[in-house]
């Protein structure tokens, strides 16, 4: 089962260089180990929420607003995608992922990735509709 481990960090000014170096080293170690085990399918940081743009379609029109979709105490800061046996293994990995990258400690949310649903009957309808123009 693939799991996405979402990193929520607290965006907070005043993080020291040493602290960020520590976070960096933590991520390097976790990624290297997950890579060695062959279960790392992706991991990347996100730019801060000050760079976020939210798009919401209203009455068929895309309405663009500045900022993340919701103001929260902790902000989405990055993710890992790992192939794990079960939730317990994912929980173990979550414990090894630093969360302080945006200034203060946060948490990891684990979400299974069930894959894109296979709906061939719908695909063929869409295909037929496309053919018939």
């Amino acid at each position: 089962m693939r799991y996405m481990l979402l990193i929520y960090s607290k965006e907070q000014a005043g993080a020291t260089r040493e602290m960020l170096d520590e976070v960096y080293r933590g991520h390097r170690a976790t990624m290297q180990e997950a890579g060695r085990k062959g279960i790392l399918q992706g991991a990347e940081p996100l730019a801060p929420t000050s760079t976020a743009t939210t798009v919401r379609v209203e009455n068929g029109k895309a309405v663009v607003t500045d900022g993340p979709f919701a103001e929260t105490k902790e902000q989405l800061a990055g993710y890992y995608i790992l192939e794990c046996q079960n939730l317990d293994e994912a929980i173990d990995w979550a414990g090894r992922i630093p969360t302080g990258c945006k200034g203060a400690e946060g948490c990891i949310e684990i979400r299974p990735l069930p894959g894109v649903p296979q709906r061939p009957e719908l695909d063929s309808v869409a295909a037929a509709r496309a053919r018939n123009g």
Partner: protein, 416 residues
């Protein structure tokens, strides 16, 4: 006919947890397992009135349910394409559809330990853990659980559905945790069982102070846990604690009013439960791995062994609470310790400890803090202060029976 039905129902109640655990282990699906078990039960009700109850009724149900389970998987396999969502369960079930399925049905391992760890997995919230444990291992029906927790049936059904879905979709493992995680996970299992017990022992609201069926069920689950993990002192300690508390249930309420321990008619204490509780405690202590349940059981045992309130060995109780504080440095334990000190070393000394605890303000909203303070002030014959403390306790108590008790005490210290 009615006898057969009753016999089948009794058997179902006794054995369903074990059978269900095995079926879940085979199929990897709570829903499939429950469906198969229900079909087997229906089959028993249909055929037993004619054939009689088989000698090995449980094995009969297990074998029948196993066959229904395989039928169900085969049906689904031919009916549906292999969808992603089904792969997890069918992969596991496929390995068991061999020709010797029926012979092997008699030799399935006891999977109840795996089941209880899955039901009490920390990725499920505690309400869901409780509901799922009672539903699967306890063999209680959804309406029964809803009634016991004074909840609408739909709410409880929803809780169980959500929990089962999370187990399935997040792949919460069906296994006994490895050693490095075992202690932590076992604590969560013990907490669920103790919570069920307490829910039955003291209702948090409403008129029913005791809902004994839940307590009895918790004790049964605790016994199962001991049977499965006999070397765990805290499992034994937990059962000892529940038995010793439960031994006082007939004495705790008189004419709908709560009776404190020193006013209880000790002749009503269940001596058989006390003896068994003490036996469990002794087995626990012999394993030399102390813990909070054993310490609480030891405290309950000291109370249980006192012939009269005056006989109570408060010195020992104070010492046990002091040790419990090391495990669980909560203000509530500290409060109990202070009361024991008051009754052993001296009322003034105990009151000092209580007032010290109260200084942080954290206990202001805790009715037992005010009730304990009031009781010591009453014993010290300081009626005005005692009355004020009883009034504060009364404002915070939610249980009608506890309120009645506090009102009576208040009238005693403040004669008009």
């Amino acid at each position: 006919m009615a006898d057969i039905q009753a016999a089948a129902e009794e058997l179902f109640r006794q054995e369903s947890g074990r059978i269900l655990a095995t079926l879940i282990g085979i199929s990897g699906s709570f829903d499939r397992a429950e469906e198969a078990l229900q079909e087997a039960f229906a089959a028993a009700l249909a055929s037993w009135p004619e054939s009689g109850v088989p000698e090995k009724g449980a094995a009969w149900i297990m074998t029948t349910a196993h066959r229904k389970l395989i039928d169900g998987v085969r049906r689904d396999n031919t009916r549906r394409d292999k969808q992603e969502s089904l792969r997890y369960e069918t992969e596991r079930a496929a390995s068991l559809t061999g020709p010797d399925e029926e012979e092997s049905a008699m030799h399935f391992p006891d999977d109840r330990l795996r089941l209880i760890f899955t039901c009490c997995h920390p990725a499920l919230n505690q309400e869901a853990q409780v509901a799922l444990t009672l539903r699967t291992l306890g063999g209680l029906s959804t309406p029964e659980i809803a009634r016991a927790f004074l909840l609408p049936e739909a709410t409880l059904a929803q809780r169980i559905v959500r929990a089962k879905r999370k187990i399935q979709e997040a792949h919460i493992p069906y296994e006994v945790p490895p050693p490095e995680r075992l202690r932590e996970r076992l604590a969560s299992v013990q907490a669920v069982i103790y919570l069920i017990f307490n829910e039955g022992y003291v209702a948090t609201s409403g008129e029913a102070l005791m809902r004994h069926d839940l307590s009895a069920e918790a004790i049964r689950l605790g016994r199962v846990l001991c049977e499965l993990m006999p070397e765990e002192g805290e499992n034994l300690g937990l059962v000892a604690l529940m038995l010793l508390h439960d031994s006082r249930r007939h004495a705790r309420v008189r004419d709908g009013a709560l009776v404190t321990m020193d006013e209880q008619d000790r002749a009503l204490w269940d001596q058989q439960a006390i003896a068994e509780g003490i036996r469990f405690l002794e087995s626990a202590l012999s394993l030399r791995a102390p813990g909070p349940y054993q310490l609480q059981a030891a405290i309950a045992a000291v109370h249980a062994q006192a012939k009269t309130p005056e006989d109570t060995d408060w010195v020992q109780i104070a010492a046990l609470y002091a040790r419990l504080l090391e495990w669980n440095p909560s203000r509530v334990v500290a409060l109990n310790h202070a009361v024991a000190v008051a009754l052993s070393a001296g009322l003034e000394q105990g009151l000092e400890l209580i007032d010290e605890l109260g200084r942080s303000g954290e206990l202001d909203q805790y009715y037992l803090y005010h009730a304990a303070r009031a009781d010591i002030l009453r014993r010290l014959v300081r009626p005005a202060e005692a009355a004020e403390a009883y009034r504060q306790a009364l404002r915070l108590a939610t249980n009608r029976i506890e309120q009645n008790f506090l009102e009576r005490r208040l009238r005693e210290v403040m004669p008009l």
